[in-house]
């Protein structure tokens, strides 16, 4: 509710960048009142702070504004009323590969209000929300632990199955996904059956930043496929969607010359949000990369000249790409309001 009120103070589009084309303008208007985004970005005080904005980039405001700390990796709770993120000492370089181990876990209201440290430095690594927002799941060397947030007790513990970062719980509660060592190869995105603990690869070879589609059957992830001639054979990182069992593999978005990271769906799955930068690693160590939004129905999409990528994916669609401020690891929530939210909170 607080988030909704905070964003309602200003009309949609109040501080939005001028659209570059009618198509982009249409997309910006389409998403303007669809909840809000939260992301980390460099602020005027020189540190990483968290920002909240409408999905068109309007009503952007700094919700942490802490000159003595670096904040990163915010995630809305599934109903959008709370946030979790990592807070580090000023000057800490956010490592795109290790951020879940860095700093302390902070829990706050969905608008950043009442931030409270949950544990100390390095504790609750890679914490992410349970579907009901009452628990967090964390990733330790000796296993995965689920913590009840009210009692701070471990409610469940099981083997991590080679997962070593970016662990996320599916909206239906039946699965986990994460980046793992699997079948001899690292950087494999895997799916773990929450009931049995069985693990299966969803996409092998050079993948990261997985997140769930709202249907809990598909995973969005970044992938740098082998055999790309670009960047002296290093290749470029693209956005893909795969089924949890790995049977379906589909390019969502790519552009030769750019690395696409931090992919996530809007809560209804109609839109895709990501960051797009020229350097591998998504800019976490610097100032992030521009945040972009596209329609899911416009995928698979390739932009730019992208000669090599278009050869591999000749049947693509086209559509507008709404480009926002620079940021890192954006996340999207549709906020509840009024009676509906009160009812939701009662059930939690």
């Amino acid at each position: 509710m607080a988030v909704f009120l905070a964003l309602s103070l200003l009309a949609p589009g109040a501080f939005a960048q001028p659209p570059a084309s009618p198509d982009i303008d249409t997309l910006a208007k389409e998403v303007a009142d669809k909840g809000g985004l939260v992301y980390g970005a460099r602020s005027e005080n020189g540190t990483w702070d968290l920002f909240l904005s409408r999905p068109d980039g309007s009503q952007r405001r700094n919700i942490t504004n802490t000159p003595d700390a670096e904040e990163a990796a915010p995630r809305f709770s599934p109903n959008g009323t709370r946030l979790l993120y990592r807070r580090m000492k000023r000057g800490t370089e956010i490592n795109h590969d290790k951020w879940g181990f860095q700093g302390e876990l902070i829990l706050a209201g969905g608008d950043g209000s009442n931030p409270v440290a949950f544990g100390g430095e390095g504790e609750y690594p890679w914490a992410s929300w349970s579907p009901d927002g009452r628990q967090v799941v964390c990733l330790f060397p000796k296993g995965i632990k689920v913590y009840d947030l009210n009692s701070n007790s471990v409610t469940r513990e099981f083997a991590r199955q080679g997962i070593y970062q970016q662990l996320f719980w599916s909206p239906d509660g039946k699965w986990f996904c994460g980046v793992a060592n699997n079948q001899g190869e690292s950087w494999t995105v895997v799916r773990v059956d929450a009931a049995s603990g069985e693990v299966n690869p969803a996409r092998k070879y050079q993948n990261c930043t997985p997140d769930w589609h709202p249907d809990s059957n598909h995973i969005i992830l970044s992938s740098r496929p082998a055999g790309q001639p670009g960047a002296r054979g290093y290749g470029y990182t693209q956005l893909w969607m795969v089924s949890g069992d790995g049977a379906e593999q589909q390019l969502l978005y790519g552009e030769d010359g750019s690395h696409i990271y931090g992919g996530a769906f809007s809560p209804d799955g109609q839109y895709v949000i990501f960051t797009k930068g020229p350097k591998d690693g998504s800019g976490a160590e610097e100032a992030g990369a521009p945040i972009c939004i596209i329609r899911t129905k416009d995928t698979p999409m390739i932009t730019g000249e992208s000669v090599e990528l278009r050869k591999l994916h000749p049947a693509t669609k086209s559509g507008p790409v709404l480009t926002l401020e620079k940021g890192w690891e954006p996340h999207w929530a549709y906020f509840l309001s009024g009676e509906k939210e009160r009812r939701q909170r009662k059930t939690e």
Binding site: L139, P141, Y164, G184, D280
Partner: protein
């Protein structure tokens, strides 16, 4: 020849006592180094729960070239001697962190406690290694294991790796 002449000329302004003293002083650090090296045992005997001397039997394939990404790489060893703890059989599979780096500079924020004096990994080399196992209890990051299809047993984590030729 000209260098030697220059030195002789410079020495010419010193007394014999000064020259002798300078030579003795120059020798002292070398003597000291030798004693120090013998008296301070390597950390290989102080860290990890298992310590072996083993021949690096195989480095399967090339190390991977992934800028900005750390990883551990599994190598095959033939054990010659077990100094502490125990291992199963005489062939073990050991993962070294960022194997392209010398062990003395491989430690970082993620993996702060590894080291040793091995500068590169070559089949046939003999290493004295302090180990932990299983690797997943001690290291959380990418692992390249090219023996996966043929070996499903324990993978050791190399904590300290010294040359033992």
């Amino acid at each position: 020849m000209s260098t030697m002449s220059t030195v002789s000329t410079e020495l010419g302004i010193l007394t014999r006592f000064e020259v002798l003293s300078a030579c003795l002083l120059a020798l002292l650090p070398c003597v000291g180094c030798g004693k120090t090296a013998e008296s301070v045992p390597s950390k290989v005997s102080q860290v990890g729960t298992t310590e072996v001397t083993a021949v690096l039997e195989e480095v399967r394939g090339e190390f991977v070239n992934r800028a900005n990404y750390d990883y551990a790489f599994v190598m095959k060893y033939k054990v010659k001697a077990v100094h502490r703890g125990s291992v199963e059989g005489d062939t073990i599979y050991v993962a070294h962190y960022n194997p392209q780096k010398a062990r003395s500079s491989a430690a970082d924020a993620r993996v702060p406690d590894i080291g040793g004096n091995v500068t590169r990994f070559r089949p046939g080399d003999v290493h004295r290694i302090a180990l932990e196992a299983p690797i997943d209890d001690y290291y959380m990051g990418g692992i390249i294991n090219r023996y996966f299809d043929e070996y499903k047993g324990v993978i050791y984590w190399a904590v300290w790796t010294d040359d033992a030729q």
